[in-house]
């Protein structure tokens, strides 16, 4: 099994163990464990309200799990947060940028928050990397959706994270921007980064992930390699129960 192979390697980029979370006294996640190695990509698949966003927010340290531990590069996200948190970059449906601030100010703000040692150089570097130099002094609210998404990715990789967590990164993007996103992510993975993303689009996710994990009703249901035939069918087979409930 693929899971056996994963367990042999000790230096997992991201390791989640037995995560549970309840909102308003209702269980959202129940005992979820998985591992992501450096250079790997995992897609979390599930129907609506299956808890994928919550899972990602817990992995990112935004929410606190009721039970269980998250380790980023071996550091516990709760106990040694100042070590673990800088290794995470987050991309979500929102762009996580301030519409009234310019591209440069946005990046500089997050560089301040992460307390980088080489703020100016790194901001310029990221702006060049993401092809944003044309928009450097533009206010974010004047940018197109695709450009904003590039800025969001730039914001996520600004502090040189080891793991990128992306929540539905493809929603609202045209096919060109989607391809661009996939290219950037693949470059990041080649440089030794790990990726966890949630998506409905198995085909798109297949271009940057190797493994797929299916969540249903807050429980871990199944996993598969994305290269397998009929992976889409497989995902749907395993996440029907919530649809029936609704």
């Amino acid at each position: 099994m693929a899971e056996e192979n994963l367990k042999k390697n000790n230096s997992a980029a991201l390791e989640a163990e037995n995560i549970s979370k309840s909102f308003a006294n209702k269980d959202v996640l129940r005992g979820i464990s998985f591992k992501v190695e450096a250079g790997d990509g995992v897609c979390v698949y599930g129907s609506n309200a299956s808890g994928k966003t919550t899972l990602l927010r817990i992995l990112a340290g935004i929410l606190q799990a009721k039970d269980g531990t998250v380790k980023i590069g071996g550091w516990d996200i709760k106990k040694s947060a100042e070590k673990a948190l800088p290794m995470i970059g987050v991309i979500s449906h929102g762009t996580m940028t301030y519409p009234q601030l310019t591209v440069e100010e946005n990046l500089k703000f997050f560089a301040d928050i992460y307390n980088l040692s080489d703020k100016k150089e790194r901001v310029t570097e990221v702006i060049d990397e993401m092809n944003l130099s044309k928009f450097r002094y533009d206010v974010v609210s004047s940018l197109s959706r695709g450009t904003r998404q590039r800025l969001a990715i730039g914001r996520a990789v600004l502090h040189r994270p080891k793991v990128i967590l992306a929540d539905e990164p493809f929603t609202g993007l045209d096919s060109k921007s989607k391809q661009k996103f996939i290219d950037i992510i693949n470059k990041f993975k080649k440089a030794g980064g790990a990726l966890v993303l949630t998506s409905h689009h198995v085909e798109l996710a297949g271009k940057c992930c190797e493994k797929i994990v299916v969540l249903d009703g807050g429980k871990f249901v199944a996993e598969a390699n994305i290269g397998d035939d009929d992976v889409r069918r497989f995902c749907e087979d395993h996440s029907t129960s919530t649809k029936e409930k609704i």
């Binding site: 309840s22 909102f23 308003a24 006294n25 209702k26 009721k66």
Partner: protein
């Protein structure tokens, strides 16, 4: 169990009433409101204390039961604060000729009522569940922290309220004590019932 507590509380209340009107009547007669006014005021403070304790317990332990108990004590505190204010207003009308006037105790009991009402409004205004319990617990804590300030700041007012009744006979103290015990028992039974309702509601949805 709950019924037993309620029955005992009613028996005690009637006993205190009998003592109050046979042996311990206060002159002029309208001042006998104290037998319902003071227990209500103590009970609403006790319920606020309960809200504080349960909120902290919820934030530490994250057990749903503390959320239910917190919600219940806020609502019961609201009921007792209502009674407190109504009896106080009737007393004010009888003694001083006006329903309400800005003075120390009057303002502080009004604020107590506002705080309980604010908690209930906050609780009823979440449409999706989210971290409702957490947020309500946080508000419960700061609402209780507010209470001492309510009393301190109200000291600024010139006071026409009698600070406390001086009882001439021990019958009167006994009647008041009995009334306080009875009302606290009533309050705990009410909190208990309300918490059960909250729990059932949550399980049904």
């Amino acid at each position: 169990m709950r019924v037993t507590v309620l029955i005992i509380s009613f028996v005690l209340m009637i006993a205190s009433g009998v003592i109050a009107f046979t042996k311990g009547a206060i002159e002029p007669v309208v001042r006998n409101i104290v037998y319902i006014h003071v227990p209500a005021s103590i009970c609403s403070l006790v319920c606020f204390g309960g809200l504080f304790v349960f909120s902290i317990m919820y934030l530490i332990k994250k057990k749903p039961v503390f959320d239910y108990l917190g919600a219940a004590s806020a609502e019961v505190a609201f009921v007792f604060a209502t009674v407190l204010n109504i009896t106080g207003m009737i007393f004010a009308k009888a003694e001083w000729g006006l329903w309400w006037t800005p003075s120390m105790r009057l303002i502080s009991s009004a604020i107590l009522w506002f705080l309980a009402a604010a908690y209930l409004i906050l609780r009823s205004s979440f449409n999706e569940q989210g971290n409702k319990a957490n947020l309500c617990a946080v508000f419960g804590i700061i609402a209780f922290v507010d209470v001492p300030f309510v009393y301190i700041s109200a000291r600024l007012m010139r006071d026409i309220h009698r600070p406390s009744f001086s009882f001439d006979s021990s019958w009167q103290s006994a009647a008041l004590g009995l009334a306080i015990v009875a009302t606290i028992m009533l309050a705990s039974a009410l909190i208990w019932m309300r918490a059960d309702i909250e729990k059932l509601n949550k399980r049904l949805n």
